[in-house]
């Protein structure tokens, strides 16, 4: 694999026992992908293709049936403070205040730090996600968006080498989601944080990701294609759609989700799983049919 990758998976598969002792069913198999230092990678696919399972394996809280997770050249077999997770359901401890939730993570990372230093460190990240003033509120007193901000601050506060996001904005209303996406974009740009995110929101992927991995439907899901985001860096929600490449990209992703995720399931069996086709949807490609794009790059 690419030696630039900070995190990579090689031949990853995960199967679950079939009903009543039948053959185990592989949710996904033969996955090969990675994320380079400072890169933002998104994974898109329908429900049931094992997206969350992939993230759990990357986080080390689930084990693959086959294959391995490689972090910085070494196989990772369990959870590690190198990899921080932002959970879909925020997963804050309801009996702790916002700052205590973050301090719990910070103390795990640097157990020898004195109280004052931990507090100061937590405050930095609370300010970063714009929660100043809500430090001492418990999750029940916070709105959905604010809870997820605490979740993001908790993940960032341990200064992980890789941040893993599991559909972090899916439970939020559109307005909150938008402002939170802007903040994550801003923070990742500033800190050049290596990030891997699972989503099913196309605009979210286009705004945040440098590369978008498309997964076929499960069971036995595979990576069908890697779409490189051809929108220039410094994207913003406000004017992203004015760029010429926006609609070709968006249409490509929508077509994939609507029909090709199913039809590609058969075709992808002939493709080398280590080198899925890479596509660069651009304005001048708009006339081409998806099949041609696939044929041209495979």
């Amino acid at each position: 694999m690419d030696p630039n990758n900070l995190i990579a998976v090689e031949g990853l598969a995960r199967s679950f026992p079939g009903p009543k002792g039948t053959e185990p069913v592989a949710v996904f198999e033969d996955l090969w992908f990675g994320a380079a230092r400072g890169e933002f990678v998104c994974l898109i696919g329908h429900s049931g293709c094992g997206k969350s399972t992939i993230l759990n394996i990357l986080a080390g809280i689930d084990q693959p049936s086959e294959g391995a997770v490689i972090v910085d050249g070494k196989e990772a077999t369990g959870p590690s403070l190198d990899r921080a997770v932002v959970f879909q359901s925020h997963a804050l401890m309801p009996w702790m205040t916002a700052i205590q939730n973050i301090a719990f993570a910070v103390r795990s990372r640097w157990p020898q730090w004195p109280r004052a230093k931990i507090r100061e460190h937590c405050q930095t990240y609370i300010d970063m996600v714009h929660l100043t003033g809500a430090e001492n509120k418990k999750p029940a007193q916070l709105s959905g968006g604010m809870r997820q901000r605490v979740g993001i601050a908790r993940a960032l506060a341990i200064e992980p080498r890789i941040m893993l996001l599991d559909e972090p904005f899916s439970a939020l209303d559109a307005l909150t989601r938008g402002s939170l996406q802007d903040e994550v974009l801003d923070i990742c740009a500033k800190t050049s944080q290596t990030t891997f995110m699972i989503t099913h929101d196309i605009d979210e992927a286009l705004l945040l990701a440098d590369r978008i991995l498309l997964m076929t439907n499960g069971p036995r899901a595979r990576i069908a294609e890697i779409v490189v985001n051809t929108l220039p860096k410094g994207r913003s929600r406000a004017d992203m759609h004015r760029h010429g490449n926006y609609y070709p990209l968006r249409n490509h992703l929508i077509e994939f989700l609507v029909s090709r995720s199913e039809t590609l399931r058969e075709m992808v069996q002939d493709v080398d799983p280590r080198k899925p086709p890479v596509v660069f949807p651009r304005a001048d490609d708009a006339a081409r049919t998806p099949a041609v794009v696939h044929g041209a790059t495979a």
Binding site: P79, L81, M93, I158
Partner: protein, 278 residues
């Protein structure tokens, strides 16, 4: 709105109490002719010289209650001790048995809740031991311990252990997967996870078990003390029954109820401290 509802409820409570006491007073006040018999024999048969019932009127109870409250700690030998001393004996037995049970049940419940193996292995024992009436243990306890006071403590121990054990195991087993995953991804050690994640997460369920246990313990102590005698409020009730002092029996019933309520409220206040809302 809420305040006026509380006021309405209070008014209704007072009215119900007045109706109850009025009915009681009416039922025991004599109207018929006095029976033609020796007054002492009449008292024994539950009748009075006035022709009414020997059951004391509410006012007699109030007077007697006041006597108990104004001098709760007198001690005039084994058969005549103040109600305060008797309640203190019972409370001490309940609290000792209860806290020993908690010290065993909560760690054991943790183990059972965290390990499906232990849960399966211990489940048959728990299922058999749990439905046994705690008083059935009394002869065995008396035979082996040879001390009636300690035997009562043992009976309290055995009756209060089950709700705490099962609630702790359930609370620990149903801690949200997400919270455990957070601890895992942060490489939090087992002990720190147990104290900082599992214990606070399961605390409300554990407290529910502790409240059920204290209520059962307070129910059982009266019966246990009636059986073994000597001291305690249960013995007091039985002794006053032998003295045919229905007034004192009713007083003791009221005191038992009051202490039980105080115990439950104390644990309720404590459980509010560990409750969290999601």
């Amino acid at each position: 709105m809420d305040g006026s509802k509380n006021l309405h409820a209070l008014t209704l409570s007072v009215v119900l109490l007045a109706l109850f006491l009025g009915g009681w007073q009416l039922a025991v006040s004599g109207t018929g002719t006095a029976p033609q018999m020796d007054p002492e024999y009449a008292a024994l048969m539950g009748a009075t010289a006035k022709g009414g019932s020997a059951l004391p009127a509410p006012f007699d109870i109030a007077k007697e209650m006041w006597r108990h409250i104004s001098d709760p700690f007198y001690d005039k030998g084994p058969n005549d001790k103040g109600i305060g001393i008797q309640l203190a004996y019972s409370l001490a037995r309940v609290l000792i048995g209860y806290f020993i049970a908690a010290a065993v049940a909560i760690p054991l419940g943790f183990l059972i809740g965290m390990s499906p193996l232990f849960y399966k292995a211990l489940d048959p024992f728990i299922q058999i031991l749990k439905p046994i009436s705690p008083l059935a243990w009394m002869p065995l306890a008396l035979y082996t311990i040879k001390d009636s006071g300690v035997s009562s403590v043992f009976v309290i121990f055995i009756c209060s252990i089950w709700p705490m054990l099962l609630n702790t195991a359930f609370g620990v087993a149903s801690v949200r997967r997400d919270w455990l995953n957070v601890a895992k991804t942060l490489e939090v050690g087992r002990l720190r996870t147990a104290f900082r994640v599992i214990l606070p997460a399961a605390a409300p369920t554990i407290m529910t078990g502790m409240r059920i246990s204290i209520a059962i313990a307070w129910l059982v102590i009266v019966a246990a003390e009636m059986l073994v005698g000597g001291t305690g409020v249960g013995y007091f009730v039985w002794n006053e029954w032998n003295n045919l002092s229905i007034t004192n029996v009713i007083c003791a019933i009221l005191f038992i109820g009051l202490v039980g309520m105080v115990l439950d409220q104390a644990l309720y206040q404590f459980s509010k401290l560990v409750t969290y809302s999601e």
